[in-house]
């Protein structure tokens, strides 16, 4: 059954950052220079082709964009400046918006105005909510212990609640990702055993970013890893040791040591990324979608306010600390609440998943290949 | 080695000879049995030439001209056609198989066709075996 080409898709993808894809004349250079491109996952050329022709369904089920880490080789080598690397990036954005069932992500990516508005709104609500809550349970002058403006126990609960909500949203999106790439394809019959056997891939790629490491340029990977680990550390600290983190004023090295490292990591990498994007130092920094800026600014903001309120607390300036804390939360909530399920940060889940699914796909294809050979042999005999 | 026929080919300068050259430039192989003599037009081929070839011991004679209507001299090939018809009858009366004398149209763009014609004729004549005349010639030499 023939697939309908759709010339509009390429116009839509422009909003996601793929502005040059129409220049591509398919010399195949990019796929050949790409260190990751190999049968059966040939990219970026093939994805670019699907995009040029607007084969939406094909693209939806296509995991290739997640297998690309944007080392920029392809873009550097492209004879027509069609920016394959950036196209893959844009496709990741687009896929994120496709996985997201709420449609919010789509809104965000297509208009940075909406995204920032949403962020500001959530921030305002958070601010208001926490202010009311804080003033009802304690006083602005108290940072810790009884009568604290933000009692850690309560924040802890809130964090968990938010955590569950986000996890829920993300899970649904992941499920959709599975459906697009594997579930709906009748040709892909994957035994449960395979799912179990390959499951290790998830944590492995999540923690090591191993594939990213295989890029010819190592620096981006290193930076990304630091960022990722710092973020994780912070997450763990907050989700499990918040009471310790918040306690003070004396420094509790068991937790705070980690806190400092993480913060340093976050601030450092964010700063580096911002600098890179402003100066366009690397190929993968040449083109910046609005969502990239928003994300970096948020991250920097959150890490910054986080450490500031901590310091203020140690300095005994409780009121100031509390206010900064409030400001911090006004960053944290929108960042987690909006970026994780609906924007850039979803890739934190999608990338390892993609590795997992692609492995399964490949296995299934090989199996099918063997089967067809088998039947061919039998027919021959 | 088996019998390798010796064929004399009269090719008109404008179509057939050019065609034969084309076979060369496009490297289309054919049997080395043929020896080409260039004439301006197939109409120049005097029947006596053909007979002369046969009497000199040729196993076959091939005359090639432009396709009807394409003659560089407008209708020379038609004249060749008529002459060959008569000649064939004469040859038969001499007791020589008429397959040994052949007229073909080969245009300047038909290198392949020329090669095919030569190969085909060689095959046919190989089946016919050497021309009787050769034996006679041999006998003559023996007498002297």
């Amino acid at each position: 059954m023939a697939i309908r080409a759709n010339p509009r898709l390429i116009e839509e993808l422009e909003l996601y950052g793929a502005e040059d894809v129409s220049k591509c004349y398919h010399c195949g250079n990019c796929s050949a220079v790409c260190p990751f491109s190999r049968d059966p996952f040939l990219f970026p050329r093939k994805s670019m082709r699907y995009l040029q022709m607007g084969l939406e369904e094909k693209l939806k089920g296509n995991l290739d964009p997640w297998l690309c880490y944007y080392c920029g080789e392809c873009s550097d080598e492209c004879p027509r400046d069609a920016e394959p690397g950036e196209t893959m990036m844009s496709l990741r954005r687009w896929l994120t918006s496709q996985y997201d069932f709420t449609g919010i992500s789509r809104l965000f990516y297509r208009s940075w105005k909406i995204e920032s508005a949403a962020i500001l709104l959530v921030a305002a609500l958070t601010g208001l909510g926490f202010w009311l809550f804080g003033s009802s349970v304690g006083s602005l002058g108290v940072y810790d212990g009884p009568g604290a403006f933000f009692p850690s126990s309560a924040i802890h609960k809130f964090d968990w609640a938010l955590g569950f909500l986000l996890a829920g949203l993300l899970l649904v999106n992941c499920a959709r990702m599975w459906w697009f790439s594997i579930g709906r394809d009748p040709k892909l019959r994957i035994p449960v055993s395979a799912y179990v056997r390959r499951l290790f891939l998830l944590p492995f790629h999540f923690f090591t970013q191993d594939r990213y490491r295989q890029c010819e340029k190592k620096r981006p990977w290193a930076i990304h890893l630091v960022l990722m680990l710092s973020y994780l550390t912070m997450l763990v600290l907050i989700m499990f040791f918040l009471h310790l983190v918040q306690s003070g004023p004396e420094i509790d090295w068991r937790v705070h040591a980690f806190g400092y490292l993480a913060t340093a990591g976050l601030l450092g990498t964010t700063a580096f990324a911002l600098y890179g994007r402003i100066r366009k130092t690397e190929t993968h920094y040449k083109h910046s979608h609005e969502s990239d800026w928003i994300f970096l600014i948020l991250l920097g903001y959150v890490a910054g306010t986080g450490i500031v309120q901590h310091v203020l607390h140690r300095a005994g300036l409780n009121t100031a600390a509390n206010i900064t804390y409030l400001a911090h939360m006004m960053g944290v909530v929108p960042m987690l609440g909006l970026e994780v399920p609906f924007s850039k940060w979803a890739h934190l889940a999608y990338r390892p998943l993609a590795m997992y699914f692609s492995a399964l796909q490949e296995e299934a294809m090989e199996a099918r290949g063997r089967a067809s050979e088998e039947t061919a042999r039998l027919r021959a005999a | 080695m088996g019998f390798e026929p010796r064929i004399v080919g009269f090719l008109c300068n404008w179509c057939s000879y050019t065609g034969a050259d084309l076979a060369g430039t496009s490297r289309i192989p054919y049997s080395p049995s043929i020896r080409v003599i260039r004439v301006m037009c197939s109409a120049r081929v005097d029947p006596t030439f053909v007979l002369r070839c046969l009497s000199e011991g040729a196993d076959g004679v091939l005359v090639c001209g432009c396709h009807p209507g394409d003659c560089h001299y407008s209708e020379g090939n038609y004249k060749a056609l008529r002459r060959m018809a008569l000649l064939k009858r004469l040859v038969r009366d001499f007791g020589i198989e008429e397959e040994r004398v052949r007229l073909e149209w080969v245009s300047a763009s038909e290198g392949k066709r020329f090669a095919d014609v030569v190969d085909d004729m060689t095959r046919k004549i190989r089946d016919l075996g050497p021309s009787k005349v050769r034996a006679v010639l041999a006998a003559d030499r023996a007498e002297r």
Binding site: Y25, C27, G28, N29, S31, A32, V33, L42, P79 | T25
Partner: protein, 606 residues
């Protein structure tokens, strides 16, 4: 001529060919004062025009005739045509004022742009209005460049009984074509069809051949040029030399041979190639020990020459000649493959450029035409191992031909070099013919087999079991001794990693290194790819804005041999016509705005 009602002039730039020194505002101001122009608008670069919105706009202004002006206004014509049609006006009344087409005059672009707009407003074809006055023409023609283009042009003119001075930079005429083995698609050997022409040039009474010479300066004006030619010292008297090779055998210096594109060596005293014309030795002063040491060292050849034809004290001389017409046939350079590192040219021994392979497979090449891999040989003089072609060397088992090397590529040459596809197919054929058991792959993007008999040739190659792979291969890497070529086989949707012994890079053509200075010397503009610009892409592919200076062959843009020959003959026609009629073509570049303006008024009045 036609054209009534109110006229609107719209400036739309395509942006690709806009020269910086063009002052658009000034041109626009000029346009406002032209008769019956009611509206002038500068729409900027690549404006997004929508007929639906243009139409009412034009209607309101009552515009029934539109002049679209710009570097390449045709790009925007349709929008206006449809707009007029929507208004029920006559859609034929959209006129183009193309600066690219008519305005390529270094220095005076703005003036020219005004003239072009004026002509368009008056609906007078620029070609008719801008006609330079005929000039008396000196019968001698100087042809610069002794490649097939120069040779053809010279012969055509000389056969008509007119004097030609053929100036060639190197020691022999023949150019690139002389280096080729066979020519596509007929596969007849290049030497066989070229050498007779070279001989004819040498023997022609009306051609005086100046090899190893360069044009230094062109003074005077169209019809009466004074050309300064530097005759570099050959140090060997061509009349005395009988090519006995005695001198060569004793010369101690050996350097890479230009003619064999570096895959063999030649001596400091050398004959470019056996069929060289003039068929005589010459000495390259840069490498001759004797000359470098001002006669203190060596001089071995002096004693060996039986006819005392060697004069190492010979000096360069400058001659000045009068000429009515000049033919520029300076040809091209090939793209420097080492610029693309990932193909490993220069580092991997068996990665060859097309020209190197051309020599390798040539009967008169180092291996007598057998295709072999380079093998390590110990060089006694250099006391070092080096890679050389040896007729007995190993034959390649698999050969890869990579198309579009340096062509169709934004980072190198954005244009298509036009000949590579066909010569690559030719190579494939030669490989299959000479090495029947060697696999041959072609990595291509589009197979551009457009000429007479080309397509058939392509089909034929396919039947000779050549693997044509659609996809430009990306890199050549060394892998345990051998090489691996990586590329995408797009049509079969797979990645190929071929182990190969020989890689041939189908390098493109590019303007000669000194094209910049040449262009300045001739006073001709260059297009954005660096090729010399013709007077009119369609109507006048051979003439230039400078009257009396003509372009032949690849110096105007990539061409294959038939097109080059046709163009060279075309130039001859132009020159013969000027000589026979005694009316030389004046220089269009010298026309002033006033002249063109006046003439166009005249014509419009009729």
């Amino acid at each position: 001529m036609g054209g009534n009602g109110k006229i609107g002039v719209f400036f739309c730039l395509e942006g690709t060919d806009t020269p910086p020194e063009l002052n658009l505002e000034e041109v626009a101001r000029y346009a406002r004062n032209l008769e019956s122009v009611v509206r002038v608008e500068v729409m900027g670069t690549r404006p997004r025009l929508d007929p639906e919105t243009l139409a009412p706009d034009l209607k309101r202004a009552g515009i029934e005739t539109v002049v679209v002006a710009g570097d390449s206004p045709g790009h925007f014509k349709q929008a206006f045509v449809r707009a007029l049609a929507l208004n029920g006006a006559n859609p034929e009344e959209v006129r183009l004022a193309s600066f690219r087409e008519h305005g390529t005059v270094p220095g005076k672009l703005t003036e020219r742009a005004k003239a072009i707009v004026a002509c368009a407003v008056r609906d007078v074809p620029f070609g008719l209005a801008a006609v330079p006055k005929p000039v008396p023409v000196h019968p001698v023609t100087v042809v610069i460049g002794g490649g097939i283009a120069g040779i053809q042009a010279s012969l055509e003119i000389a056969d008509a009984g007119q004097k030609v001075i053929l100036v060639e930079k190197s020691g022999t005429i023949g150019g690139h074509m002389a280096m080729f083995d066979k020519t596509f698609p007929t596969l007849d050997c290049a030497a066989c069809i070229l050498t007779p022409k070279m001989v004819a040039v040498a023997q022609h009474s009306m051609i005086d051949l100046m090899t190893y010479s360069e044009v230094q300066e062109i003074a005077g004006s169209s019809g009466a040029f004074r050309v300064k030619i530097l005759k570099k010292a050959r140090y060997v008297d061509p009349d005395a030399c009988v090519a006995c090779h005695a001198c060569r055998d004793v010369c101690p210096i050996s350097i890479p041979s230009e003619f064999d594109s570096g895959i063999t060596t030649r001596k400091a005293i050398y004959m470019p190639f056996p069929q060289a014309v003039p068929n005589s030795y010459l000495i390259d002063a840069e490498s001759c020990t004797y000359i470098l040491s001002d006669g203190k060292k060596c001089g071995a050849c002096l004693t060996k020459c039986a006819k005392d034809g060697i004069h190492l004290d010979e000096k360069d001389t400058v001659v000045e000649v009068e000429a009515g017409n000049i033919v520029v046939a300076t040809g091209y350079d090939i793209f420097d493959a080492s610029r693309i590192e990932r193909y490993g040219y220069g580092t991997l021994p068996n990665v060859l450029t097309a020209l190197e392979f051309e020599r390798l497979t040539n009967a008169s090449g180092p291996t007598g035409g057998t295709i072999v891999l380079k093998s390590k040989k110990y060089n006694k003089r250099k006391k070092a191992e080096e890679w050389v072609f040896d007729a007995e060397g190993p034959r390649p088992k698999s050969v890869v031909i990579i198309h579009c090397v340096g062509s169709r590529d934004a980072r190198y040459n954005p244009y298509c070099s036009r000949v590579c596809c066909m010569y690559s197919l030719k190579f494939a054929h030669l490989v299959r013919e000479k090495l029947p058991d060697a696999a041959c792959y072609e990595f291509y993007i589009d197979m551009r087999a457009f000429g007479k008999g080309y397509e058939d040739f392509f089909e034929r190659i396919k039947h000779e079991q050549v693997f044509v792979v659609r996809g430009r291969s990306a890199k050549v890497t060394e892998k345990d001794g051998g090489m691996v070529v990586k590329g995408e086989d797009i049509l079969n949707d797979r990645l190929m990693e071929l182990p190969v012994d020989m890689v041939i890079l189908s390098v493109g053509l590019q303007p000669v290194a000194d094209v910049e200075s040449l262009a300045r010397m001739f006073g001709i503009a260059r297009d954005r790819d660096g090729w010399l610009t013709e007077m009119d892409y369609n109507l006048d592919p051979t003439a230039t804005e400078r009257g009396g200076i003509f372009l032949a062959g690849v110096c105007q843009g990539p061409k294959d041999i038939p097109d080059t020959v046709a163009q060279a003959s075309a130039v001859a026609a132009r020159i013969l016509r000027s000589i026979l009629s005694g009316k030389g073509q004046g220089s269009r570049a010298d026309l002033t705005l006033e002249e063109i303006d006046a003439r166009s008024r005249e014509l419009a009045a009729r």
